[in-house]
Symmetry: C2
């Protein structure tokens, strides 16, 4: 499968925020995420970097 | 492989912008993209939506 895990980058560390993310919709100052299991979260902040080959999404507080 | 194609959404249509995207780094008002083949592009605009299961990134001009 081609989902990715979303992490929050803070103080040089990455903390898991949501596993197996399928959908991401950035909006003003926040990001709507939905995963394979139908779990939904809204992160206040922005996308720092995405690496699809590493299955990794890194989010960051503003 | 788990790369995705990036499309530009315009007037209700989606036009292919970059195939086989691996890395995406959003910055102020633009998005840096790099694909599997080392091709790099900078898109002026924002991410509209990402669906990893569909291998699809949709970008939008501001």
């Amino acid at each position: 499968m081609c989902e990715a895990n979303a992490y929050i980058y803070k103080d040089g560390k990455e903390e898991l925020y949501l596993e197996s993310v399928d959908i991401m919709v950035p909006e003003e100052g926040k990001i709507y995420l939905k995963n394979l299991f139908g779990e939904q979260k809204v992160f206040i902040g922005k996308i720092k970097e995405i690496s699809l080959l590493k299955h990794k999404i890194v989010l960051e507080n503003k």
